[in-house]
């Protein structure tokens, strides 16, 4: 064992010297390899983080949402639907929800305006008060002014006292949120009390019965669109996975191109390298010594490139909000406005990425070296 380690140390010593002697060629390989890993890892990190955020956000979403459709479009749900839904066996906590969007022309931002549903006392809002998300607070300088001034759709100024600013921890869910009391919401949007609700949320007593209850609701309210939490999650996954898939397919092509590039570089062993292999063999190096040396060379290069690429991708996604890939992956509406991503890495994906980049690279470089290493060292005599 000690002898094996000592031998590897000698081989590595020689490898490092050899890599330094061919530093420009190795630098080109390192840069290209790092770039490929950076792009693939960025997509992977970004995907994991967004899925994590989506799951976290939907954890607080109601199990079932019922929307009224008029002319195939989302309209206000009549108030009496709440009682009708309460009458369906297996439902509980049926409540009408009021929410809408407000476009802030001055800042070019869209806010989600909602009535707090009262289930969380820390989010209770009295008339005249407002709770805002971190993004809204920043844009409207709420921390400094202690008030939120909004221009109502009818052009009148609407002033609310800021009770609280929500933290960045739940950014994806609350970044653009404005929480009001029901009275203020109806006044702001000029919505009469009998106009109904934006939609109706409910829970199901037995979670395995969600599909059955959804079916019953559709029969009882033929105009209604019934959306379950699972539906949202699935749609979200599908939309995002499709985007990620397209990008990964493109990057897989670049990975293949890189493998060909590496193979070409290695198979184009220069006359100098072939001569060097011949000399080492003539001096008593075994074929396995040559292969071990080249294995070290490939492994060092690949691991170094993988490490740099993965760390750069981490910084790109979690420190710089994936500036390069976000427009492609998110689309403009999916996560608007911007929310910081919580660092989240899928270890299995990372290991897969390592396997898909490091192993083909080493294989691509080793095969031609093996071919050169099994030739008779007699070549150095000619």
């Amino acid at each position: 064992m000690f002898h094996w380690l000592a031998r590897q140390r000698y081989l590595m010593d020689y490898t490092l010297a050899a890599m330094w002697r061919r530093k420009w060629r190795n630098l080109v390989l390192l840069v290209v390899f790092t770039l490929v890993v950076f792009l693939l890892a960025s997509v992977s990190f970004f995907g994991s983080a967004v899925r994590f955020e989506a799951k976290r956000a939907l954890k607080f979403a109601p199990e079932v949402m019922v929307q009224n459709l008029v002319l195939g479009r989302h309209a206000l749900a009549p108030a009496d639907w709440v009682d009708k839904l309460k009458g369906i066996r297996g439902t509980r906590n049926v409540r009408g929800r009021l929410w809408g969007y407000f476009y802030d022309q001055g800042n070019g931002a869209n806010y989600t305006v909602m009535v707090a549903d009262g289930s969380d006392p820390s989010l209770a809002v009295a008339p005249g008060e407002v709770i805002v998300g971190a993004g809204v607070a920043r844009v409207r300088e709420v921390e400094k002014l202690r008030n939120l001034l909004l221009l109502r759709p009818d052009g009148k100024l609407f002033k609310l006292r800021a009770k609280r600013i929500l933290s960045d921890d739940s950014a994806l869910l609350t970044h653009d949120l404005v929480l009001l009391s029901e009275a203020d919401f109806r006044e702001f949007f000029n919505l009469p009390r009998d106009a109904g609700f934006t939609d109706i949320a409910l829970e199901v007593r037995n979670r395995r019965e969600v599909a059955t209850i959804a079916n019953k609701i559709s029969q009882r309210l033929p105009n209604a669109r019934v959306v379950t939490r699972e539906d949202i999650l699935r749609t979200y996954e599908n939309v995002f996975s499709w985007r990620e898939g397209v990008l990964q397919a493109m990057l897989a092509a670049s990975l293949a191109a890189f493998a060909i590039f590496a193979f070409d570089k290695a198979s184009g062993l220069s006359a100098e390298e072939r001569r060097e292999i011949g000399i080492l063999k003539a001096l008593g190096w075994d074929t396995s010594d040559i292969l071990a040396m080249k294995l070290w060379e490939g492994a060092l290069l690949a691991l170094f490139a993988f490490l740099i690429g993965a760390v750069a991708a981490y910084a790109h996604v979690f420190l710089f909000q994936a500036g390069v890939l976000a427009p492609v992956l998110k689309g403009w509406a999916v996560l608007y406005p911007q929310a910081p991503l919580t660092p989240q890495i899928d270890r299995l994906q990372l290991v897969t990425l390592a396997m898909l980049t490091i192993v083909p690279f080493i294989a691509a470089t080793l095969v031609p070296v093996w071919k050169a290493a099994i030739t008779d060292p007699e070549v150095v005599m000619r």
């Binding site: 010297a17 000399i279 003539a282 001096l283």
Partner: protein, 229 residues
Amino acid sequence: MIEVENVSRVYNEGRPNEVRALNDVTLRIPDHAVTVLKGPSGSGKTTLLSLIGCLARPTSGRILLDGEIISALPEHFMAKMRRERFGFVFQRFHLIRGLSVVDNVMLPAYPAAPDYRELRERAMAALRRLRLEHRAGMKVELLSGGETQRVAIARALINDPEWVLADEPTANLDSALVEQLLEEIRMLKADGKSLVITTHDPRIIDSDVVDVVAEMRDGKITSVTEVER
């Protein structure tokens, strides 16, 4: 002793460009002596040296070292043989550019993985003996022709082999350096090494250091002369 028995070596066998470099060669090479393989270019002396040094295998026939067949060993053992029993001085020296003198000298010992300090001390001792200690840290491409050859000799001696094989060692040397080389051959012989040298240089062949001269022509041994002292 090395015994070469009915050895032939054919390149590109069965193809239109087939070349029979050695043809049924038989030769005995004594220990602790300087044997010269003499002959014009293309006579097969370098091919014979390659086969003796386990750099290639004969197409037919066999080679024995101290009674043991070495020409049919598996590659792993051929490499071990090259590393432990033979030291090579190539015609073009074949030092690795970009490495220092001492690193080049240590190279044949790497697979055996000896203690690093001990190995470096051995390399420095070999360089000291060849008056190159002051060049130990210099890159080999900066050395003169004579110095390059002495580094190649030091490298051949690093594993303390019984046999030193030199291919046309005077091909790139002027008269003064040939004298120096003869001095080094004398030194090696005095140390008990066995040397096989291919050359057609009369300054070597006619020198007092040579014990056996085997003359080759067209891939065959035409004569073997033991030099009388």
